[in-house]
């Protein structure tokens, strides 16, 4: 995939920043405004999907290698499970909102409030964004018909 014309490339290189920022906003303000981890994660993934449609696969692979993407996926899932277990450790029950109840009550309608809910939103956003981009990536690999492995740089012939 060589990418599209210069017009598409220019416009998408400007727009991708805005889409990424909007995704970050939805994830971080998920406990205050509509949205949350899942929707924001999909927006984050779609900014990279736009980049990949406009510039081609090789360009995106320099920016966000496949190995890094799978690591981000695992980090998101691990962080969400750890938040749940920390609730068990600090407040006595799984998924207890220990930050809000004990350490950092915060003030409603402020960015730093609601204890573990923003942290869970960030973990879910990371997980969903990385895994949806992985879905898109693996489908376009399958479409090309050329094989790649996930531990070596994509497109490189093995053996």
């Amino acid at each position: 995939m060589r990418g599209m014309t210069v017009i598409v490339k220019t416009v998408s290189s400007w727009v991708k920043v805005l889409i990424f920022l909007y995704g970050v906003y939805i994830v971080v303000f998920g406990h205050l405004t509509p949205g949350g981890g899942f929707a924001g994660g999909v927006v984050l993934a779609s900014s990279y999907v736009l980049l990949m449609l406009a510039f081609g696969r090789e360009f995106v692979e320099q920016d966000l290698p496949l190995a890094l993407d799978s690591k981000l996926d695992c980090i998101g899932a691990f962080a969400f499970a750890m938040i749940a277990i920390l609730g068990l450790v600090f407040a006595g029950s799984f998924f207890a909102n220990f930050l809000y109840q004990k350490y950092l009550p915060g003030e409603p309608l402020r960015l730093i409030s609601a204890g573990t809910i923003p942290l869970s939103n960030i973990a879910i956003g990371l997980k969903v964004g990385a895994s949806l981009f992985l879905v898109f990536f693996s489908l376009s690999i399958c479409r090309r018909g050329k094989g790649v492995t996930f531990d070596s740089p994509a497109g490189q012939e093995q053996e």
Binding site: I26, L32, A39, L53, F80, F95, I117, L139
Partner: protein, 182 residues
């Protein structure tokens, strides 16, 4: 209220076109139109959380489906329907329709939530004490990440497992293609 009927008509027409058209790309675009109609309905029902999720997932799904269908060899559907299959599906749809009439009779009116009529429901507690007990101004976030966080954990696990399965299957296919090009 009229806007819901207009959107419903739009969605039904799009669904019929998606089933009946021979071109795969038009079918995929019509499926996208169904999703956008649904997200507009959620917006008019004052559910912005679900509207955002619906529209975002719809765009991603549309792009993935278009990438998967375009530039395949098979972009047109050909062949006639079998007589037996048509009869069976019409009978099943009719049975579901008859059952649906009874179900819709027992539902509360459109736009009136059940928890406003039944006292002491769980959702009443969430609405009254949600802000005070979790500190989250967005009640949806309070429910999915605090009161009902187990659901979210299960959903995340399902997504994680699905990605692992898809990557394992596609990787095996890629290796086989690598050993035997073309």
């Amino acid at each position: 209220m009229a806007v819901f009927y207009i959107l419903l008509l739009f969605v039904i027409i799009a669904a019929i076109i998606a089933v009946e058209t021979k071109n795969l790309l038009s079918a995929v675009i019509c499926v996208g139109a169904i999703g956008f109609g649904g997200s507009l309905m959620f917006l008019f029902l004052r559910a912005p959380d679900i509207a955002i999720t619906q529209i975002v997932v719809e765009v991603m799904g549309l792009i993935i489906l278009i990438r998967a269908t375009i530039s395949r060899d098979l972009t047109f559907i050909s062949g006639d329907r079998e007589f037996f299959g048509t009869v069976v599906s019409v009978v099943i749809v009719f049975v579901i329709f008859l059952a649906g009439i009874h179900v819709f009779d027992t539902l509360p009116d459109f736009g009136t939530a059940v928890f406003t009529q039944v006292p002491d429901t769980a959702s009443q507690t969430y609405i009254e004490e949600g802000l005070e007990r979790t500190g989250a101004a967005n009640l949806v976030a309070a429910v999915i990440l605090d009161f009902r966080a187990y659901d979210t954990l299960g959903e995340a696990t399902v997504l994680f497992t699905a990605i692992i399965g898809a990557m394992v299957i596609l990787r095996g296919k890629s290796r086989k293609l690598l050993e035997d090009p073309d």
